[in-house]
Symmetry: C2
Subunit: 158 residues, 2 copies
């Protein structure tokens, strides 16, 4: 319990630090999101290397995505995502009805504008993991009402 909380608290501290140390405003907000995403990317790359040490080779793109959504994210957040859908053309939607890093914030719409900063790191995490498994992607997140959220993964064809 406390060890998950350790990550969650550090994650909040990081967000606060990044937002405090920079200036404010629309452009700055975008830059901060990019920084968080880049950190997530590097962490995702590091993690996936350890994580796949004893994993058999993946069959195809869907197999990789299933691994990322089921094994990787479940282990990191100690919780399965609720739904994974795909159009079979490189777009995947991961639905989580109660995302760990949002569950500490008030539910509903009150703090909706703050949601993106709590999701950027995780977007990077997924992108970094996929990148190390050979899939270039764009990962975005969308929140309609906390603590539920949707991650959309668009695989970039080579």
């Amino acid at each position: 319990m406390a060890d998950e909380a350790l990550f969650q608290f550090l994650h909040s501290e990081l967000i606060q630090y990044i937002y405090k140390s920079g200036a404010n405003g629309e452009t700055e907000n975008g830059k901060n999101i990019t920084k968080l995403e880049a950190m997530g990317f590097r962490v995702g790359q590091g993690l996936i290397e350890r994580f796949t040490k004893e994993t058999p080779r993946f069959k195809d793109e869907l197999d990789v995505m299933k691994f990322i959504c089921k094994d990787f994210l479940t282990c990191l957040f100690k919780k399965q995502i609720d739904n994974l859908r795909t159009n079979h053309q490189g777009i995947y939607v991961l639905q989580d009805n109660s995302f760990r890093l949002l569950s500490q914030l008030s539910a509903g719409k009150q703090y909706l504008e703050h949601a993106p900063k709590y999701l950027a790191f995780t977007c990077g995490l997924v992108r970094g993991g996929l990148s190390d498994l050979g899939l270039k992607s764009v990962v975005t997140a969308e929140v309609a009402g906390m603590p539920a959220c949707k991650f959309q993964v668009m695989i970039q064809k080579a």
Copy 2:
């Protein structure tokens, strides 16, 4: 496994970010250490609140220290410290022969100068935890050869 690594990687990213975003030099180094320690302090405070929710009341100072060293740190780092000594006058020395956050760095003396930044957050963590349990303290860390390290806790009498 990967969930501990998640914290470790994020911790390294945070250090790199703090050191990259500020200027360099002796004074800056001190400021960065202080920032990391302050983050650890707040995280420690948050964690101890969750952690002691169902813990019986502590008898005395030694009891609190044992709790912090055995239960709290063991749960966070998934590893017991190797030795806890005290002079029974408010000074405690925690010895860890292979500290988790140093074990990713090369062993020996080569990167010894970088050790303090990898320990500041944990010093804060301990100080924050103790503070929420009613003990004001000064926590410092010392490394003679990685990955072993010693934390010294000085309890400040009211």
